[in-house]
Symmetry: C2
Subunit: 334 residues, 2 copies
DNA sequence: AATAGATGTGGGATCGTTCCCATACCATGG
DNA sequence: CCATGGTATGGGAACGATCCCACATCTATT
């Protein structure tokens, strides 16, 4: 059975106003009244109706999280899963519940859905079209973007420092003595893939590597299958071209490609060094364990929620663009 | 700016009742009134307040999903991630939004939280204590359990058919000619790990395998690290004991253990066949690709939501226990 | 003794919807 | 010509909380 505050009040012999004061904890209430109300609450396991509370408070204590992605998987994507884990944890810490939604159609509908539910704020994850952001902007709803790309200076967003990470990877591999570099890069419309490639390329150039010593293959998707397929297609070029490094713009591509190399008996790291980007859980578990550039997804999730909380409380936000540092994790594949 | 129905009505020159009828779509409204209301709605991008709707309808169209797990990761767990993906998709299809929560403390608080938010139904995932179920049972809130264990005949739950899967794995491996079996099994308090081991064991016995030809190591956790650690610890016993099969009760254990075997130059499947359970995404991506028993997580997620929807609509539910079939995926490791 | 301020209480408006009900108009048919 | 029923409309209650306000005590200060 579910009770309302009036029933609690009448059972405790007080008015609903007094009961409300006791339960919500603000306003005066005599010790006796307080005790009686709390006893009834405890006995009937009364749970205040958050829907009614939200109505008067004009605040739901819910935040909406939308992950935009055209294809499976979404939540089960190793990187976004980690991010959502972190968001959930951080949100709980600040007293928010999370309404989670995935959007494969990259439409405006999912945002509207959140708007209707009157979430206090919105976190938009991954690749999303400009029209979605423009749509959300029209409402005075706090929102921010994580791991997406935008040229809109108004949009508060969190990204990993992908150019820096790419450059660090270049410097590390060059330092190991490698001179011929092969790259499989994910879709360049994706901000992160683009920046990772550019960071890597420019890092190499700065070290004096000639453009002719860098070969880049572009992949339309950034998953295991594409990594494997492209590696297989370019296997002759890779081996014959004297390349000793395979760098990819994310771990999935690296892992997929590495499998092909291993199947064809290429010794890693002896014959070729392989390096990815992200540090998904399986990077360390692979044999050989994958050297990669770590993106601190956990940190990003926590930062995103903390930032959104500031926006909700109309506190000042220091900068629109928040970059998280990247770090190289050296393992067995290099 | 956000408007309410009264403002929409007055701008359209009708009463809020008429506006409500047009917007919610039930009740009479003249074509002219309808047109005017819809025009204002369109122009102001009016979004009906779902909170207020929920209050009168006593229905939020939200379902709660709680994943109980003592340790990281939760959403980023390859199996639960897939499950949540499926739940999200199915929920959306039926017009529900999903409030997602993780609970590491295995407490009653997360359920209370959902209760306060007045979700229409609750999906409880993974290992959860009896007291949580008992707590939820006290409210007349539709709920069901996925991949958990219960001896309570009232509790509607969905599980994979783990005994059958274990037995199928045994039959398959035996059919390959293997006669000495080594098993690393996850925590036996976990229903699925227990059933998988028992199914495997009994499957072997039925085929005439002696108990002395089966060696089982129990693992307190079922992740990559433990798989690797236990394989390393029992490496001598494995190699020296003439075992030609490593079967584990989930893929994570198998992948962790397989890495150790590969590092120590054991040829897979030549010298030892390795088989897991679950079919997480990385099982196929590993080198060698892991033979495993597939759990149809996608199906389970869809079934869970469909079943919960039936409960919410007070429709009859055919059986309390819903088992999904298991299927062997033969890949490179056997 | 009068006044002020702190403490305590309950009535009623409010939030934004839906829905019930009363009312009104119009066409149809006996 | 009047009853009947479909179409159309708006007023007001209801959902379950919070909170403002009026009012009543009680204590302390002048």
């Amino acid at each position: 059975m579910t009770y309302n505050i009036k029933e609690i009040a009448s059972l405790a012999g007080v008015s609903k106003s007094t009961a409300s004061r006791v339960i919500s904890g603000n306003g005066y209430a005599s010790p006796e009244a307080r005790a009686r109300v709390l006893e009834v609450v405890e006995q009937l396991q009364y749970k205040p109706n958050a829907v009614a509370r939200a109505m008067v408070a004009k605040r739901t204590n819910n935040i909406g999280v939308i992950v935009f992605r055209e294809r499976q998987p979404i939540v089960s994507h190793p990187l976004y899963g980690k991010l959502i884990d972190a968001i959930l944890e951080a949100a709980e810490g600040l007293g928010y519940s999370v309404l989670l939604k995935t959007d494969r159609e990259m439409s405006v509908r999912s945002a509207d859905h959140m708007l209707e539910r009157r979430v206090d704020g919105l976190i938009l994850i991954s690749r999303l079209r400009k029209n979605v952001v423009d749509h959300v902007k029209k409402y005075n709803l706090p929102y921010l973007m994580v791991n997406g790309s935008t040229d809109d200076p108004d949009v508060i967003h969190l990204v990993s420092n992908d150019e820096e990470g790419g450059a660090k990877a270049a410097a590390y591999l060059h330092g190991l003595g490698h001179r011929r570099f092969f790259v499989i890069a994910g879709p360049q419309e994706h901000r992160s893939h683009h920046h990772r490639l550019e960071g890597f390329r420019q890092g190499l150039m700065r070290l004096g590597v000639q453009a002719s010593d860098l070969s880049v293959v572009l992949s339309p998707e950034s998953n295991l299958e594409l990594g494997a397929r492209l590696m297989a297609e370019h296997f002759e070029a890779f081996i014959g071209g004297g390349y000793t490094v395979l760098f990819t713009t994310n771990d999935m591509l690296a892992l997929g490609a590495m499998k092909v190399l291993l199947q064809r008996s290429v010794r890693i790291p002896g014959q070729a060094a392989v390096m990815g980007f992200d540090d998904i859980d399986f990077a360390a578990a692979y044999s050989p364990a994958l050297t990669t550039v770590k993106v601190d997804t956990n940190r990003m999730g926590h930062d995103a929620v903390a930032l959104l909380d500031r926006l909700i409380h109309q506190e000042e936000v220091l900068s629109k663009k928040n970059e998280s540092a990247s770090e190289i994790l050296i393992r067995e594949s290099t």
